[in-house]
Symmetry: C2
Subunit: 163 residues, 2 copies
Amino acid sequence: MSTAIKTFAARGYYGTSTMDVATAAGISQGYLYRLFKDKPTLFAALIDYCSDRLRESVAVAAASVRGTDPEAALAALTASYDDVIADRDVLMILLHAQGSASEPVIGEALRRCYARQVEYIRSVSGASDAQIRRYFADALLSNVVVAIDADTIDAPWARTLRA
Amino acid sequence: MSTAIKTFAARGYYGTSTMDVATAAGISQGYLYRLFKDKPTLFAALIDYCSDRLRESVAVAAASVRGTDPEAALAALTASYDDVIADRDVLMILLHAQGSASEPVIGEALRRCYARQVEYIRSVSGASDAQIRRYFADALLSNVVVAIDADTIDAPWARTLRA
DNA sequence: CACTAATGAGATTGGTTACTCACTTACATG
DNA sequence: CATGTAAGTGAGTAACCAATCTCATTAGTG
């Protein structure tokens, strides 16, 4: 499962063949189709997996700030998000998923992921709509910074985009 | 050029064949390879085109707020950004490009686009790093909302994500 | 031991892909 | 008219892809 994520993370849904995934996972392509109905279903399963990882991370961070005000709680969640995307794979899957959302099964999985995340964050932080929106906006900017390697570039524009 | 954008916008770099693009543009696939060296070069050209569109849009909005304070200027720019992504194609190209940034030619084009945009916005608005970062974070959230069709969904999480 | 179900590999199929190339048309300019 | 060249085509090729089908191995059960 995590090998599949690594594989898809590199070149996305369309850019990765089922053979690539099977080889990386050390199984035959045929067996892959016994484990998953088809390619969209496989990719959607990876999104669900990433969704779980994100939720776990939020849960851990939320436990340590129970009872504080929403603003401080969100700050802690943002910090934990930066931890999750540090390994770059979960992040890239979500990023690629956005581009493959026209595939129905994938689009649904992605919307499920966002829905879950928004409501969970709302419930543990008690934040307002505007605050939650800011949280996601910051997270998405972090995504892009990592995706385009702006975090390793020493230029004014890159320094501006990262905090 | 704009037909190529429409085509790639639907399924991204890896999900769109050069044949798809040629057919949509009403030319033969062979001629496409006379116009562009190879597939990555073609896609990078589209990114440059989108970069130009974005810059134009910023230029127009900036002209009408010359001399005001940075905060108000940025607000105007954000509004103009929402106009640009209204047609959804430019937006989708940029979104897909993030997922194809591992392709060297594409990654470079994308970084060029961001660099240009950041510095241009800085120069016309005089905004601080933090303000510029907020501008981009908001823009990226708008991107995602459109990409996952959250703007047409009537659910609490979707309403939270859009302003 | 015999029977069955799960787990796995390999070959195959029908279709698509990026990219090339030999060839034509149209339009110049001397 | 001749000659050069830009604009354009259609048929290829070799590789690759998702998906399925067949066959071998293992494990468990009675």
